[in-house]
Symmetry: C2
Subunit: 290 residues, 2 copies
Amino acid sequence: MYGAIEAGGTKFVCAAVDEDMNIVDQITVATLEPKQTMKEVIEFFKKNPVKAIGIGAFGPIEISPNKENYGQILNTPKLAWRWFNMYKELSAALDIPIKIDTDVNAAALGEFKEGHAVGKRSVLYITIGTGVGAGFVLEGETLFGLTHPEMGHILIRQKEEDVFKGNCPTHNNCLEGLVSGPAIEARLGIKGHELGEDHVIWDHVADYIGQALMTYNLILSPEIILIGGGVAQQAHLFPKIRTAFKKHMNGYIDHEIIKGDLEEYIQYPKLGQKAGLVGSIYLAKGIALD
Amino acid sequence: MYGAIEAGGTKFVCAAVDEDMNIVDQITVATLEPKQTMKEVIEFFKKNPVKAIGIGAFGPIEISPNKENYGQILNTPKLAWRWFNMYKELSAALDIPIKIDTDVNAAALGEFKEGHAVGKRSVLYITIGTGVGAGFVLEGETLFGLTHPEMGHILIRQKEEDVFKGNCPTHNNCLEGLVSGPAIEARLGIKGHELGEDHVIWDHVADYIGQALMTYNLILSPEIILIGGGVAQQAHLFPKIRTAFKKHMNGYIDHEIIKGDLEEYIQYPKLGQKAGLVGSIYLAKGIALD
């Protein structure tokens, strides 16, 4: 059996799966104080012994395995978790290989292994929800560098007619500050799913996401782009995003996929909200084989 | 011996080096009609037999080795070269392994192997000259995807006081449209190296480059960023670029290098204008070993 943990800001989902990827057991634990949450996580894996555990975690977190503080949550606004080392805590309690990556890298890996990116060389997975982030997988490996990427905070050009100042505490109107769920809600005090599909806010949001996809494309040239998260559940956004992407690109990349209808190139993840958990299982499988 | 070709828009530099990386012979050929230029290139390598050739080429060009048109120059404004397949032409004349990559990927590889990025896990190499482009190397492999990256065309936010419209024919005021050599010259009709170091244009240019480095950092998280090309020969630009990068980042990435003086993190390439040729030799070595 392999173990997976989707370590999110509000809940931890733990799963134990067999070789055929069937879920044998699963629990959801609230993200409370680290010790409290981890106690339940550890009990789960004592009850369900696994060969290895893969974790897709909220961040910022150290995911470079050769760093001394591998697995440590970094300078997060969630004070109770700041500087808490998930890897050390779990390793001390369970003597098995553990692999930690970001939630979005895990989701990208899930889609690479079992989702829309099967057979592709690379995949970009973006989540647009409470925050905005993205993970990237190239030939089965997740991308990290000096730190893990923070793709949600790139600067984009705000439309003149959109006077919202943005709600990112660090960059105001960066991508996250303009298109996250809370940023959409902050404009009119109405949640995104309560706005009509033809509300002009969606045009702004789609334009900014389209701009960001252009930037990601020009830098990473992913073979497919998947957008998940709460905001992406607004299906009507996808045609608008594809149109905005095309408008900003202005025909620059002379490739049939980029010049095409983009319906496959930019879409909702096949695994939906399960992408992260599925990817975490593959993180476990990868580390078990190492 | 190994062969290297730096295939540029105005000249081709060909070199033959021995196992110890000493240049045994070298020529420079003008970039004329493809057949004409290639004839001289082929003659050079008939005179200097090598095990393999690495090419760092101008683009757009197909660099994915599993594509049928590998090595083909794509939709370039240089009409004589459009659709010309450099790989096929050379392979037909010289029966040796040939590896083709972009000029900027080759330069990134050169710095990774022998320059400032030795010992790093990744490096971003940007050139700012007639055009703007960037290459990325991660653990010795150059980055490409659906196409090769086109990082010079990302959209950045222009300062209100900079009224220049930009000179990119596709995106007007994208990064290249604002900071390339011709873009700098287009503002006042004065070449960059003739502008005083304290001219406000340099503040604009540095601000935009700093913005772009922020974007590249948030997406790729390179361990080091090297900026070459004609515009980067203005040494006074580097402190301004580091300041702009820091200002736009606004402390978001909590890493000692990003919070530090950035003098090593953002600098001129160690190999200077030779980075591309050195990298091309390593492309040859890599393909010879495959």
